[in-house]
Amino acid sequence: MAKVLVFLDNPGAGLKKSSLELLTLARTLGESVVAVNGDVSDGVAADFAEYGVSMVLRPSARDLDDFLVAPKAAFVAAAAESAGAGIVLLDNSPEGKEIAARVGIRLNAGVITDAVGVDADGTAHKSVLAGSYNTSCKAKTAVSVVTLKANNVNPEPAVAPSAPGTSTVEVPASATAAAARITAREQKVASGRPDLTDARIVVAGGRGLDGDFGPVEELADALGAAVGASRAATDAGWISHDAQVGQTGKTVSPQLYISAGISGAIQQKAGMQTAKVIVAVNKDAESPVFEIADFGIIGDVFDVLPQATAEIRKRKG
């Protein structure tokens, strides 16, 4: 049976949903082997067993976090070789894609990013040009490297749990020599909200918020959603640049995208038009966002959003 290698970076206390999605997909493609950087907690070990992982590979070096991606890529490539993997799966974060890029060169393997699904024969499906085309593509090489977008696979435990063994993979000493070193790291204050790129629901605000993201944040919290923003709002400094959705920011494809006070120019559409359901609130009836919204409200965000927030709180009790 084909081996599929899944790379997980510092999984913490338990696997996050996007990691469970990778393990679920891996099982449909073959025997799943996991390469983990960082500690494997009891919670993570239990997740591995529940999701049918056959083997856990860990790096010989413990200082991979002190460097930018190059040594992690060296580890993943070495793990793929030692497992004899035909497919390497990673998450679709910027770092996941960068590791994938380097693993591709190390293994002479074709790399496909932004996949929403992978067939048993390795054909990957993705959308390109800001969601205006759906393509299917395939690596022509013996090994293929694929990064999977979140929210496209339903996490499902294996029918029978596994008892995965653990083995250590030698990270080549040369891997850290030509790598950028991280000399300082400042943690940002955690918002407590879900990660924007993985979130099931995103509430995003734009120019129409006029500097006050309060109504957007309150609606997001009532829905358990992540907060996004248009470039106009981040450029104005109303909210952190990390929140930007669009061509020069993040691409999201949540189940629900609520767009508030955003006109929906092409730059913004590029980042969100693959969302399953789009709701738009804008004062201007001519806003382009209404052309793609499943449910549009021509109205003032400062009236509509607080009313919706109060109603959700009431219904959820």
Partner: protein, 291 residues
């Protein structure tokens, strides 16, 4: 980069002192900036039938590459610019239209352009592109820095800079929101979602910069006139020693099997707020089982 004085003109009859002064300030830099001409995202963009490649009808310099060029220009200017021997070379791979992107960089202030073009390159994926670019960078001799944008605005895969670094065996710093060079090493800041990092790497290195790093300049009249005198070197695969079979559709490690235009999203229900639109919004979410 504030704080680094420009070299002063040497006192008459004392060239020795002048030379020493330059060396204590900072060594000169040779910087390659990778630029790409991409379809203008303001218009509808299409894939063409043969080979599923992007139609480059209305192409412009990728907006994100302007930040890379500006970062290079600032590093060069802080060291006395081209007069002091600093070089900012704009390298672009692509068909004839790529020259337009290079011309724009020369107008902004790049010292010279290099256009890697060859019919055999058509349809190259990231692996093949990075192979050709790595050979082109090697062809340019000793380079201190290769600077790129954070992504292209068409392919959107962000693979090429990382693959270029891997092929050249150089350290790479991605998503730099600030960049300083001194004493043969670079220091950069990276802002991720959960943390900010300070990163160091020895030169030569590959760096990709975000759109937060600077405010790219517009070409001024003087720059546009000066650009006319700057050279654009054209390189073929033979010039850089790359076998055509390693690039293009044939040399790529991935292939696009099919491409379908997605049916455009159609507008759904649009209502005008009559005082209860917030409630109706929640009704809609409940009906869609999204609550």
């Amino acid at each position: 980069m504030p704080g680094i004085p420009r070299p002063r003109p040497h006192p008459a009859g004392c060239p020795q002192a002048w030379k020493a002064a330059v060396n204590t300030v900072e060594d000169t830099l040779k910087i390659v900036v990778l630029v790409k001409h991409v379809p203008d995202a303001q218009f509808d963009r299409h894939l063409n039938g043969e080979g599923n490649t992007v139609d480059r009808g209305e192409s412009i310099l990728s907006e994100l590459d302007e930040y890379a060029l500006e970062a290079a220009l600032q590093l060069a200017e802080a060291r006395g610019g081209s007069k002091a021997g600093n070089q900012v070379i704009a390298l672009s791979m692509g068909p004839a239209g790529a020259v337009n992107a290079i011309k724009k960089t020369l107008q902004m202030g790049a010292t010279e352009g290099v256009h890697l073009t060859d019919d055999a390159l058509a349809g190259s994926d990231a692996a093949a592109t990075s192979l050709a670019l790595a050979a082109a960078v090697r062809h340019l001799g000793q380079v201190d820095l290769v600077i790129t944008g954070m992504a292209s605005t068409d392919g959107e895969t962000s693979l090429v800079p990382a693959q270029l670094a891997e092929r050249l065996g150089l350290p790479q710093v991605t998503f730099a929101s600030s960049l300083e060079v001194s004493g043969g090493k670079l220091t950069a800041r990276r802002d991720a979602d959960t943390s900010s990092e300070t990163v160091e790497a020895p030169l030569p290195a590959v760096v990709s910069v975000t759109d937060q790093i600077n405010e790219p300049r517009y070409p001024n009249f003087k720059g546009i006139i000066a650009a006319k005198r700057k050279s654009i070197t054209t390189l073929s695969l033979a010039d850089i020693g790359v076998d055509p079979a390693q690039v293009g559709h044939a040399g790529s490690w991935t292939s696009v099997l099919s491409a379908e235009e997605r049916p455009p999203r159609t507008a759904g229900t649009i209502i005008t707020d009559e005082g209860d639109a917030g409630i109706k919004l929640v009704d809609f979410l409940a009906a869609q089982k999204l609550l």
